[in-house]
């Protein structure tokens, strides 16, 4: 059923991206839904973040948000607000909070928490105890969102 080799490679990839200095998912400090400090202690890579945003197995943010900057991708969902100009509406700390765990900002939202690894009911075994994105990927996405300014 499972591709053991694929799983091993995947685990190795995770190991290279999740570093010991990262703030652990359950230790992220929220203040009114915002997260002030970088989860990795470094700035994210916006180009990588753009990929994570579109990738169906990673952020898959396009499932719910339209985004004119990714017009080459087909099928933008419309469950949440458009991402165009989002950097003008929210600060970096607010965006980090929203991506890390949007439920701290928007009570009862459908938007998943992307950096939270416990407290789930019946997660599939492959995902149990894991967050959807790594700290690095969250920072990359935040850096990317910061580039989405109104023309």
């Amino acid at each position: 059923m499972k591709n053991v080799l694929g799983a091993a490679i995947f685990a190795a990839l995770i190991a290279t991206t999740a570093s010991a200095e990262d703030v652990k998912p359950m230790e992220v400090a929220f203040v009114d839904g915002t997260v002030e400090v970088s989860l990795t202690g470094k700035a994210g890579d916006a180009a990588e973040g753009r990929k994570v945003f579109a990738n169906r197995k990673q952020g898959n943010c396009l499932a719910c948000h339209t985004n004119a900057d990714l017009s080459e991708e087909s099928f933008h969902g419309e469950v949440g607000p458009p991402m165009d100009g989002v950097a003008g509406r929210w600060s970096e700390a607010e965006l980090r909070g929203i991506v890390t765990n949007s439920k701290m900002m928007f009570e009862g939202t459908i938007m998943p928490a992307f950096y939270k690894d416990t407290g789930y009911t019946r997660p599939l075994d492959d995902f149990a105890g894991k967050s959807i994105l790594t700290a690095q990927q969250v920072e990359d996405v935040v850096a990317y969102l910061m580039t989405l300014k109104e023309e």
């Binding site: 933008h76 469950v79 599939l124």
Partner: protein, 276 residues
């Protein structure tokens, strides 16, 4: 009964309506198949209920409007063959005891129902006859023989309104199903309601979200080119949100099926429907 081209359906598109679901109407042999109606009293957050057909593209909709084009009908034909096929130690076929499958008209609208303090689905009834009356092996819950038979039996109720009992003995099962419908599960941490109640009518990536109604099951999906059971669909939705699905034919999915059937109260049976 005559299972060949008894149906001529026209999809009439009404223009200008500003609904998220489209405004096409479905009619069978000149008789309208209701695809929207007032929500039953027990639904607190929805005023109008719609068939999933209303959220599909024009091409997908068209496949369901003519039984010649409906790819599910091949499987209904297979169901007719199985109906007459002798199987098991008793040397009987379904037709040995049930004169005409048309006698099952109306059955789909009332399932699942309570029997001997448990909830039974159409699949359970079919397998009960196989194991206890034919001496045959139970069919797998969502596999081809079973979905062919539930499509054939469900078709006998096409056009009849969904009408499951939710009070009396059924009440505890219904309550359990409701709780499951509103419980967030999986790594994506969503409940059925997050998509099918709060966001129906909107696009989630390439998919147009419907209300997740079950009046058209088993449904033929273009995605896998076969009939899909109700519990098979529940399982798929749970896996999409990275949740461990409950067992097909298990107590949780039966309760959820009862609750969903009650959310479709008044919509008519469309079995076998076509979806992407």
């Amino acid at each position: 009964m005559n299972l060949k081209p008894w149906i001529a359906i026209a999809a009439i598109s009404l223009s200008g309506a500003a609904f998220a679901q489209d405004s096409s109407s479905l009619s069978v042999e000149g008789e309208a198949l209701l695809t929207e109606t007032a929500a039953p009293e027990h639904m607190e957050n929805v005023d109008t209920i719609y068939s999933g057909w209303r959220f599909r593209s024009g091409e997908t909709q068209a496949l369901q409007t003519d039984d010649f084009d409906n790819p599910a009908m091949i499987f209904v034909d297979k169901g007719i063959d199985l109906w007459a096929k002798v199987d098991g130690t008793e040397g009987k076929s379904c037709s040995s005891c049930h004169e005409d499958v048309a006698d099952f008209a109306g059955l789909r609208t009332t399932l699942p129902r309570v029997e001997d303090a448990g909830l039974v689905t159409m699949e359970n009834l079919v397998n009960e006859c196989r194991t206890e009356r034919m001496g045959a092996e139970a069919w797998k819950y969502s596999k081809g023989n079973m979905t062919a038979m539930t499509a054939l039996i469900g078709l006998q109720s096409r056009g009849m309104a969904m009408n499951v009992a939710i009070d009396g003995d059924a009440a505890p099962f219904w309550e359990k199903g409701k709780e499951l419908y509103y419980t967030r599960v999986g790594q994506l941490d969503m409940s059925c309601s997050n998509c099918h109640e709060d966001n129906y009518g909107t696009m989630i990536r390439a998919d147009h979200l419907s209300q997740g109604q079950i009046n058209g099951f088993p449904t033929y999906r273009l995605k896998n080119a076969k009939l899909n059971s109700i519990h098979g669909r529940f399982k798929g939705c749970m896996k999409n949100i990275r949740a461990t699905p409950f067992a097909e034919g298990g107590e949780e999915f039966k309760a959820l099926e009862l609750y969903l059937a009650s959310r479709g109260e008044g919509l008519v049976v469309e079995t076998p429907s076509v979806r992407n």
